[in-house]
């Protein structure tokens, strides 16, 4: 029952889609977009709550939050939302360990921005919306992803996209973040 380390599968042959510098610039650009879209800094709006989806959504949310605070001068609460208990594919895979859920504040009537590394089928986000509903009733829920690789299986789209990457289903997109990996990068390779 030892948990399989997730995100640890490196693609066999890989191509770098985003370099470390690209990752930093992309996150900065997304931060500006969030500020603009949530009218942050206008003085009247409550800051959005950023909730990262484990594993890499969490450091991504932290970084995005830091940039947003830096650019707007407003502290943005960030936290984590584990969706494992809400997944619809649990019975297709070995038991997964639960990741942490950490809500920095109540989410009722707030703007919540879900943050994930890669948007693929949309099923994780569907699970996240269900999880969110059990924690409260946000005014608006938005989605920020570093990479949108297509192949949606549900009617879900992101509000903020770092980079759109057309992929084939046999490919795998890996996001590396220095907080949990050895460096920042986005890689594309063949699924093993």
């Amino acid at each position: 029952m030892a948990p399989r380390p997730r995100g640890a599968t490196e693609p066999a042959a890989e191509r770098e889609l985003l370099s470390a510098g690209d990752v930093a610039r992309t996150i900065a650009r997304m931060a500006h977009q969030v500020i603009e879209k949530t009218a942050l800094g206008s003085g009247t709006a409550t800051p959005p709550v950023l909730l990262g989806i484990p594993t890499r959504g969490i450091p991504l949310a932290t970084r995005l939050g830091a940039r947003i605070s830096e650019f707007s001068g407003v502290d943005v609460p960030t936290g984590a939302l584990d969706v494992t208990l809400y997944r619809d594919d649990l019975r297709r895979k070995p038991t997964r360990p639960l990741e942490q859920t950490q809500l920095p504040t109540g989410i009722d009537d707030r703007v919540v921005v879900l943050v994930d590394d890669v948007l693929f089928s949309g099923r994780t986000i569907r699970a996240a919306l269900d999880a969110l509903r059990d924690h409260g009733r946000p005014r608006v829920v938005q989605l920020a992803v570093l990479v949108d690789r297509g192949h949606r299986e549900l009617p879900i789209r992101a509000d903020y996209v770092g980079k759109n990457v057309p992929t084939s289903r046999s490919e795998e997109v890996s996001v590396l973040l220095s907080d949990v990996d050895d460096r920042d990068a986005v890689l594309l390779g063949e699924r093993r």
Partner: protein, 311 residues
Amino acid sequence: MKHLLTTDGLAEDAATAILDTADELKRTLLGREVKKLPTLRGRTVITMFYENSTRTRVSFEIAGKWMSADVVNVSAGGSSVGKGESLRDTALTLAAAGADCVIVRHPASGAAHRLAGWLSEGGTSVVNAGDGTHEHPTQALLDAATLRERLGALKDRRIAIVGDVLHSRVARSNVHLLATLGAEVVLVAPPTLLPVGVGSWPVTVSHDLDAELPALDAVMMLRVQAERMHGGFFPSAREYSIAYGLNEARLGLLPEGAVVLHPGPMLRGMEIGSAVADAPQSAITEQVRNGVHVRMAVLYHLLAGDGGERG
């Protein structure tokens, strides 16, 4: 993991995974109005209790319901069991009716293992909710969860289990789990309430509670059942209570921060003083609360995945 039948042989990483899941579930549900998780939607869990036990059955039932499983309760009184149907036939019937998991309490030691054997061909998981005087693994897991909460890691912690070890499935499950998690276990009981053969257990044995208390991180008091009091295992309830009861004076011998546990139901004034049960050292209410989260975690580990081996 297919079944949870004992803690004897339960690997440390498997035990820790369940405890970690229980911790996360507790945190995730903390302060929520809606406790229900959709995780086990469409799964059917049957509790089959051949012995009365409100607290354990209810704890499992709540755990299942909070995970959105369909929970069906079968009690020996109100079913074909009362008509003399064998355990095997009852089990096969429940499996055929579509049970994904059977939670069983039975007065015969080993009954849960037998059940698991009969159900091995189907996909039905078995959870041992107490078999005779053998094991009660979820009680040990919830005790460990409670101790971890109070003490942190259990490695090298010294924990005494006091009382009727001979007839206690709680003691057996705790001995193995605590040893697996690295704790030092001391059994404190009169010789008549220790099993012959206890020498092979990963424990030390003592007959002197007062001598043990000052070095303990936790003390787990076992219930003394009424029938033992008349079974000649010790001269009188009074003498037992004097030698092995945890009264206020003894509570004072425990180091600061030490924890008092009791699996319940308690006999206040017998094995545990009333004031002791309500003292800040007592984690008895937390045990009950953690029971639900631990049982949710067990159901999660048995039923949420595809049942395959994890790499």
